[in-house]
């Protein structure tokens, strides 16, 4: 077995946790600032220089607020919900290679020249050398990779559903109901959108997907449609506008967290931001080559490591900002519209995309064909939806009303 460095793992966990919490705090600040700028306001600017200490004030406020528990709640699940939300959201981050990475060792084939013993020995040597260098991931070399993140990420929704249900309030229940309607819509296109990537990379391990892109070009080039479906699905998964149906503060007071207060509310609000960070990493790593950037990735040593960190950080930052900008651009979908979008548009598109990837793989064609098919599929979908006839049902005017 591989040797497990306990100290390194603990230090890494603490550092990553602190980094995520810090980013979450400053994401809330960025959210407030950006929404202010978009709406021609100034935003928080009172606490500290340029309002930078606002996050400390917000955090302290959450901690020192009176912890009100309404009488009508189901106490067990009411307390459990924020915990489930944050714990699963953090757990999903554990597989993300957040720094320079090397591909995890793959399986070693047993052949006539290489009997089973030799193969096992070679595999163990591979794994040992893989674990010897510094690894920037909490769970490095996890073979089910992103599937783990999808599985755990879906559990976050249970935090929301539980919270809404245990609150025993109509608004909360409506919020969590919408959340359940949402999860059965976006989960399928979310999984299907990256299947094409898996077929190419031959693995669901993020480090291997990244390694494939270093040698063959970023997946955004071959899978633009897959990326589009993925980004729409993750927006739904993070409960971000235009898919923030469970919160919908204009209709449902606070949605699923209406009955929550103090730090429990803070935890529930954190979930979205943790999820945003994780999914931004996914988008950067799966479709935009992670730390790879043409001409900048061949630097060795500490300098190269810093450069790679910066490249990945810049990509993630871009997607985080995109989250915020999109929030102030597109109005919220109704949940029937979301379901129609997911089931009638995104799933068929994902299937077409998947089949075209299969054809290209089967006949060993150049992957550039997929760029063309993606665009053609997208346009075809638009044309098909244009042909749809929208008619108003003309009810007969009641004769009794005529003067």
């Amino acid at each position: 077995m591989t040797d497990f460095d306990f100290t390194y793992a603990v230090i890494l966990m603490v550092v990553v946790f602190a980094a995520i919490m810090g980013s979450v705090a400053y994401l809330t600040f960025a959210e407030r600032k950006i929404s202010a700028w978009v709406q021609d306001r100034i935003g928080p600017n009172r606490v500290g220089p340029w309002g930078l200490l606002q996050v400390a004030a917000d955090g302290l406020k959450f901690f020192f607020k009176e912890d009100i528990i309404p009488k009508h709640v189901d106490r067990v699940f009411y307390f459990l919900a924020p915990g489930i939300g944050v714990a699963t959201a953090l757990l999903a981050f554990s597989i993300v290679p957040f720094g320079p990475s090397t591909p995890a060792p793959g399986p070693v084939g047993v052949t006539a020249e290489k009997p089973l013993d030799a193969a096992i020995a070679q595999h163990e040597a591979d794994v040992k050398s893989y674990h010897e260098h510094t690894i920037f991931a909490l769970a490095p070399g996890l073979d089910i990779g992103i599937l783990f993140a999808f599985a755990i990420g879906s559990l976050v929704v249970y935090g929301i559903i539980l919270g809404g249900w245990s609150s025993n309030s109509k608004y909360s229940l409506l919020g969590s109901l919408r959340s359940s309607a949402q999860i059965i819509s976006y989960e399928i296109p979310l999984g299907m959108s990256v299947l094409g990537v898996f077929l190419f990379a031959g693995s669901v391990n993020l480090e291997k997907i990244l390694d494939y892109q270093i040698h063959h070009g970023w997946f955004i080039l071959y899978q633009p449609l897959g990326f589009l479906l993925f980004i729409v699905s993750v927006y739904a998964e993070c409960n971000r506008l235009p898919f923030d149906l469970p919160e919908a503060e204009q209709e449902l007071v606070g949605g699923f967290h209406t009955e929550y207060g103090s730090m429990k509310l803070g935890l529930l609000l954190m979930v979205d931001y943790i999820h945003m960070i994780t999914t931004s990493f996914f988008m950067a790593i799966i479709f935009f080559g992670g730390w790879h950037f043409p001409g900048l990735s061949n630097i060795d040593g500490i300098g190269g490591m810093v450069v790679k960190f910066l490249i990945l950080g810049a990509k993630v930052f871009f997607f985080l900002m995109l989250y915020m900008i999109v929030r102030w651009t597109i109005p919220r979908f109704k949940f029937d519209q979301l379901m129609a979008l997911a089931w009638q548009v995104m799933i068929p598109l994902a299937m077409v995309n998947l089949v075209s990837v299969m054809i290209v793989k089967e006949y060993q064609l150049t992957p550039w064909i997929l760029t063309v098919t993606s665009i053609v599929t997208f346009l075809a979908a638009a044309v098909i939806s244009t042909r749809e006839k929208l008619t108003v049902i003309q009810r007969p005017v009641n004769a009794a009303h005529s003067a």
């Binding site: 202010a36 978009v38 709406q39 100034i42 900008i325 651009t329 346009l379 638009a382 005017v397």
Partner: protein
Amino acid sequence: MSAKTVRWVEEPKMGLFERMYLPAIAQGIATTVRHILKPQVKTEQYPEQEPKLPANYRGVHRLNRDDDGRVRCVACYMCATACPAHCIDIVAAPAPAGWKDREKYPETFVIDELRCIYCGMCEEACPVDAIELTTLYDLTGLSREEMIFDKEKLLSVWDQTTKAGTDPVRTKSGHYGPAADLPK
């Protein structure tokens, strides 16, 4: 109402461009980004930046002084009568011997600033432009008693507001109207 008079309005049809969603979303994002890059902020930073109030703003009252520094009020009770909130309390007394231009003057002049609704009817009623609402807006106090302004306090508001050059519109920047010109 016949079927002919009913006009059926259909939803505007979306063409290929709108059906593609992405170009429209790109347009929207462009608008959003434009606002981020060039915010047209009109926010006033209040405690540091004083708001620019119009001269006819109805804030704290003041009792005006005449050129000799005496209170202009002639204790006619017209403001107290006009006041819908009954917040003005005047006790009149015969004018001091040296004051040739009037028979009465207010011995006390008390306004309960908490009862006042700042409607400005007192300044409209005043025949000698002696009471006015100023542009002072940040009226605060720690007790109810503190908010009952007596004559001295109201005269001090005059001293405060004329110095700052924030004369209300009625006194036309320090010049009284013809009605205020008392025979000397």
